[in-house]
Symmetry: C2
Subunit: 592 residues, 2 copies
Amino acid sequence: MIGRTHYCGEISEKLIGERVELKGWAQTRRDLGQVIFVDLRDRTGIVQIVANPEISAEALEKMDTVRSEYVLDVKGTVVKRDEETYNEKIPTGTVEVQVDEMAILNNSKPLPFQVDGETDVSEDVRLRYRYLDLRRPEMRETFKLRHKTTKLIRDFLDENDFLDIETPMLTKSTPEGARDYLVPSRVHRGEFYALPQSPQLFKQLLMVSGFEKYFQIVRCFRDEDLRADRQPEFTQVDIEASFMDKEDFLSMMEEMMKKIMKEVHGLNIPAPFPRLTYEEAMNRYGSDKPDTRFGMELVELSDIVKDSDFKVFANAVKNGGIVKGLNVKGVANEMSRKEIDDLADFVAVYGAKGLAWLKVEEESLKGPIAKFFSEEETAEIRKALDAQAGDLLFFGADKKQIVYDAMGALRLKFGKDLGLIDHSKFNFLWVTEFPLMEYDEDADRYTAMHHPFTSPIREDIPKLEGNPEEVRAEAYDLVLNGYELGGGSQRIYERELQEKMFKALGFSEEEAREQFGFLLDAFEYGTPPHGGIALGLDRLIMLLAGRNNLRDTIAFPKTASASCLLTKAPGEVSSSQLDELNLEIVKFEEEE
Amino acid sequence: MIGRTHYCGEISEKLIGERVELKGWAQTRRDLGQVIFVDLRDRTGIVQIVANPEISAEALEKMDTVRSEYVLDVKGTVVKRDEETYNEKIPTGTVEVQVDEMAILNNSKPLPFQVDGETDVSEDVRLRYRYLDLRRPEMRETFKLRHKTTKLIRDFLDENDFLDIETPMLTKSTPEGARDYLVPSRVHRGEFYALPQSPQLFKQLLMVSGFEKYFQIVRCFRDEDLRADRQPEFTQVDIEASFMDKEDFLSMMEEMMKKIMKEVHGLNIPAPFPRLTYEEAMNRYGSDKPDTRFGMELVELSDIVKDSDFKVFANAVKNGGIVKGLNVKGVANEMSRKEIDDLADFVAVYGAKGLAWLKVEEESLKGPIAKFFSEEETAEIRKALDAQAGDLLFFGADKKQIVYDAMGALRLKFGKDLGLIDHSKFNFLWVTEFPLMEYDEDADRYTAMHHPFTSPIREDIPKLEGNPEEVRAEAYDLVLNGYELGGGSQRIYERELQEKMFKALGFSEEEAREQFGFLLDAFEYGTPPHGGIALGLDRLIMLLAGRNNLRDTIAFPKTASASCLLTKAPGEVSSSQLDELNLEIVKFEEEE
């Protein structure tokens, strides 16, 4: 302890009678005539300090000038409070410090909003005065948790022989993947660096170098249109290992998560984590990042309804699609017709052209589409969905992906709206066996679902040439409570397999060289088997801290339009700066 | 240990008789007919493996196909070598592993250069094949040392209550300081982010937020013309603390350095570190980052020669300059006249218009300028410089800064050339009491030597208005062996003092607001006293690892023209990428 004898949060009954020196901010001030109480706050918490003429007239006089958020240096004696004045809201509430000496280190203007708890000012105001917003206890605790978690991760990886190695921020733009942030070069005029979307290529090169075990907690960048849970710059826990098989790697990651949960929340989470194949996850939850904190799984109905008179269902199946049902228990009489109809708009966002539904009664199913089903079909639907009187059944019928997306989102919506989610749960799971490629209709070719260096599952390699869409990847996503925490894979390290892969992706040899030349070169010089994962740190912290918003986990975040409201970045630059870069801003019509 | 039973470097006589599994690279292969020896290398070191028909014909057959840098998975038994075949160059040299089972995990083309030790290929080739260069033991050990040192720093700061908090990479361009790297915004067309030169403003904002103790190991960027010891992106250990006074802060930093030296090199370095004021450092060493591993200090001669007949000296002093002497012991008869004359070119780089010299003989000083000095002056020069027969004396006479720069560089040159430097020494020291401002002749105003938030030394505050050039800063540089490891200061936290400072710097209120508005706003809401430091991590690692080149401490560095020879960054981007940014490359004449 330097510059003070104690932190405010450390003052306790054990210190009664001791003289202490504290430094911090005056959070609130209560003036009872000849006695002034101030709640003094520092990083650790709050303690009440008190000035009165019997202790020190001089200190009282100074205290009288103190206003909210003044910065104080006080010396005084710890005393027990009268029992009737105990403050149970703070851990130091049974004691106070009688101030006999004090200095006002700095003053403060009145704050634009209170910083003693959750605030209801708009997020824009909070971001504009971020330095004040960060004084609120919720924010302070989130960043302490972030520090602690990061430290745990670093320590764990260090103990497991991983080396922290930094990779470049000024790197090369690649045509694949999301949009790069570009950085014009002044020395090489007309050329650009790109900020990394991930250190993927560099970490694979480090495996070629023989470092064997690498990690980095690293900033990554994507110039995408932002959603609530995206930031243009985000932090990734990037890990890669040579000579480790998938099982060993996954169990090591489980150990790391167990350690974090134990140290941060005191929870013993069970391992090995459950695993779902991609196919199973989509089938049961309509999502490759299922929230398994509640049930209400999607139910496959294609076979039951494929010959029904309801053409929407029958045709969906005929055209290669599927029909899925969702049983929302006991809400049939809670929801108005309008509320039900509004859900059609909700699923429309996911491409669904409508949302069929049925109310379950003792003997029958009721609703506009009930009449289309035979008695047998009705019975089978009831059985498959375990329907009981009062339940409300929803149906999605379309191409697979649309049904998954729409019904998966509907399931989540009901899970939240009906309070089915146990927020004390941390449900980790692995999703495995992702498709290696997906067909890109625009480009009229297959594209890698992760990236072209992801290894196929060995037994599927023969299908690379004839049925590439059936090839599963040796890839794994780590999912927590419905969020993708990160994704990893074993990588291709054999030249022959890599060539097959590029061929399946429709790359000519020249195209492959042009895009990945230096990595392909590297792979010819003794590349070890390797694989790894990238975890989203911001998202992990958000879930650990129980926040709803990625921005609450980032000290100085950007808004949905990628602006910093505090520093007003981005901003204009001088024409001489642009001249040096040989750049000119093209005239454009102002749209906003 | 996963995927193998041991690392290569762990094989020792203790394991004799045990069956082990190793994975790694075939470094060298010696074929003695029916016996094949391979030096197997992994991250930890090398062990000899041997295949012969008595152990396994199949393993021998496979081993026969192994070439340099093939990736192997071998199983076998540890045995003692015959004493006459001990290899003393490697720690595992008394044992070998008799291979009974092996798999070739990957093959390798012949390498463009050897990776078993120091290499003499050009640095360009090393950088182009960086993934191979990093296989060399020197490089591997440097990055292990970097990992270890970074971990030590993080652990130390964590134990001292510092919180690791990340600050933005996409921030705002500021007119002060070095040239920014710019990042065009796609959403805000015509506007730009800047990559941070340091998180200075953000870390001060975090102090306003009440985090009290912050650190970050963070990438910073400067688009400057590169020198041997500069990189466009570099890593900084960034530290800031509230409520700590300077002495406490410096001794904490000393503790950190002591810990690093102890853990990395097993050295107990003495603390507190010596301190030199800026003035003393310049006077004695001609440098604000003196290398004190050898003496040969500059000697003040202005008073002695100010009335001499040698007009160059006398006029220098009359015009407000100084005369400094340097005694290079015992080399008078070693250096030719040409060698001595060539030194005039050496100091010319620093602005010196010539380099006067004198050879010391038993009774007299000899040389072209000897005749200008009276007997008394000659005696005083001899005495001041402690001159003895055989010494060679050099003299600088000019404006202060030119004399410092030229004679300081000359001192260093002789220190190196004459082998006066003890390379086992780690001489840490603080340089303090820097001038707060320096006069910028171009701008015709004072500019802050560090930045405008550096606090003046309290007792000098009254001089801010009349004699700003005499005001000393509460700033401190940490110097190691002639390199600046980092610089820090106590910051201004009182509004009134900040206003005085801006006034002394010739800022109008509006200008100050425009450039530093959000920070000045923040400072009005209860800013604690605070200060901090930024250490150059790359440079620290370079010195700890005994390397001569910053690039050897960075996994994927850039060349002096800010290119990455491996990835070919920067590069051209597509016109659609530029269109999205509303940018156009201005036509330019190709100069290169």
